[in-house]
């Protein structure tokens, strides 16, 4: 059994260099660095995110899956634009690009929408990168049309399952719903063919999470993801600030959780209270730092950038 770190000393030093430059970037742009708890009494209700529960008397605590809710309460409290470097936890996520505990950079820019935020990410990554970077932009709809000649607005779920069966070897797609089929195709067929940095934006409203719907097209959400050579790096939105809509999404999440036999979670009334008190229009994004480091250094597996993975 080796006591030594998993990452090389060079990678450990590069991580320090990247963190230093991130802090300088945000400090000079007028952001406030904040710190929120890893252990919280409520957690994300999102169906595809599993929380790690910590036994604690009669009420469990949860290791945060992201600092999103806490940071929004800071926005409501009038902190202005904020950023945070922290760890987040997802139960059961483990593989070449996943670890149950991972590092996140999350930031919120007051007065921005998702388009301006994507430009800011371009600037940040260009600043951090040791090489020239090129960025592409494509909508979620265009991506499926270009990569698979698939019209996501028209295709029936039966046809979508057939396309999954044809494209993904050994998949049993009979019980996949529409979004699960799209997730499968994106992860296994489309992402592997992506090149360089690519922003995918305007996700279907059914995959909106905490993004607001586009004012001029309410079939999509103002949500984006950033990929590099098919590796997902960041997820961001124009933030939903409407309390009633947010409550409805939480309730729907819990309904979907019940249908799938997953644990249901108490709705975070503190977050809803913060939204109720009013949050300025803003855009926010979470960027995975372990994966960013992997991409910046041209490495292959998250194993090579995690300081320890015992």
């Amino acid at each position: 059994m080796s006591w030594q770190p998993r990452a090389s000393l060079n990678v450990i030093r590069e991580r320090a260099r990247v963190y230093r430059q991130i802090r300088a970037f945000f400090n000079t742009r007028g952001y406030l660095e904040v710190d929120t708890p890893l252990l919280m009494p409520t957690t994300s209700t999102e169906v595809n995110i599993a929380s790690i529960e910590i036994a604690h008397g009669s009420r469990p605590l949860y290791l945060q899956t992201s600092p999103e809710y806490a940071m929004k309460r800071l926005l409501a409290a009038g902190c202005g634009s904020i950023f945070q470097i922290c760890h987040a936890f997802r139960q059961g996520e483990s593989g070449r690009l996943h670890n149950m505990e991972f590092s996140l950079l999350e930031w919120y820019r007051v007065g921005y929408d998702y388009r301006l935020l994507m430009q800011e990410i371009e600037l940040l990554i260009t600043t951090l990168s040791l090489h020239h970077c090129s960025f592409g932009y494509v909508t979620y709809r265009q991506l499926f049309a270009q990569s698979m000649q698939l019209d996501i607005d028209r295709i029936s779920v039966e046809e979508l399952r057939r396309r999954c069966d044809d494209s993904v070897p050994g998949a049993d797609c009979a019980d996949l719903d529409r979004d699960q089929c799209l997730d499968l195709l994106l992860a296994t067929v489309i992402a592997p063919s992506m090149q360089d940095y690519l922003f995918v934006y305007d996700y279907p409203l059914s995959q909106a999470a905490l993004a607001r719907a586009r004012a001029d097209d309410n079939t999509v959400a103002e949500r984006f993801e950033l990929f590099h050579d098919g590796i997902e790096l960041a997820n961001g939105f124009s933030e939903l600030t409407d309390t009633a809509q947010q409550r409805l999404r939480f309730v729907n999440d819990n309904r979907d959780r019940r249908e799938r036999g997953l644990p249901q979670y108490e709705i975070d009334e503190r977050l809803l209270g913060a939204l109720e008190s009013g949050i300025e229009d803003c855009a926010g994004v979470a960027l995975g730092l372990d994966r960013l480091l992997l991409v910046l250094l041209g490495l292959d597996s998250i194993d090579e950038v995690l300081t320890f993975r015992d």
Partner: protein
């Protein structure tokens, strides 16, 4: 029956797929950050040896295959079955040609092999990585030709044919790598 969740998947795990025992060769976890997670696995059917790909929704469970690899001593073949014995319990197992496959080329009485048992019956036999076998047939050796590096076919006591250096004679013992079927060295008796 025991079962495994996808998050227990790792290479070597034995699971039931379409009614056949299979071993996981590779397991890849894929998940769009806000989306459904999947496990993409490459598996080998332990009965047919065929390799295939499968994709599972993460969190699904799969029935475990009652498959164990046991170290057993090879005894003899009666023409139809190959007989093995567990050196601890002295229990014997008879493996048919399907289970033995190409391993029969390397089976020598008294050698320890790995026998794969499914529901208690043999479905696979893995010979030791290295075996020592006697040459039963080959062209006459060329004396003094130890340096030139030429080879000739030689038939071994099990029926296997391997390429050996020119100087070797009938009755000599050679060490062979059973994974590649290649001659390694001459063994002094």
């Amino acid at each position: 029956m025991a079962s495994y969740s996808t998050n227990e998947f790792r290479s070597g795990l034995k699971i039931m797929i379409d009614g056949d025992p299979c071993a996981i060769i590779e397991n890849e976890f894929v998940k769009p950050g806000k989306g459904q997670a999947f496990n993409r696995v490459r598996i080998r059917n332990l009965k047919t040896g065929r390799v295939l790909d499968k994709t599972f929704k993460s969190g699904e469970t799969v029935e475990a295959a009652d498959v164990v690899d046991t170290e057993m001593q090879y005894l003899y073949s009666d023409g139809e079955f190959w007989h093995f014995m567990d050196p601890q319990t002295y229990e014997q197992q008879a493996a048919d040609a399907n289970a033995v496959g190409d391993a029969y080329l390397w089976l020598k009485a008294q050698d320890n092999c790995e026998v794969t048992l499914y529901n208690g019956s043999p479905i696979g036999v893995t010979p030791p990585n290295f075996v020592e076998l006697e040459i039963t047939e080959t062209d006459p050796g060329l004396k003094g030709d130890t340096a030139q590096g030429g080879t000739k076919p030689a038939t071994l006591e099990t029926g296997a044919v391997v390429k050996v250096p020119l100087f070797l004679e009938i009755g000599e013992l050679v060490k062979v790598d059973t994974r590649s079927g290649e001659y390694m060295s001459r063994v002094k008796k």
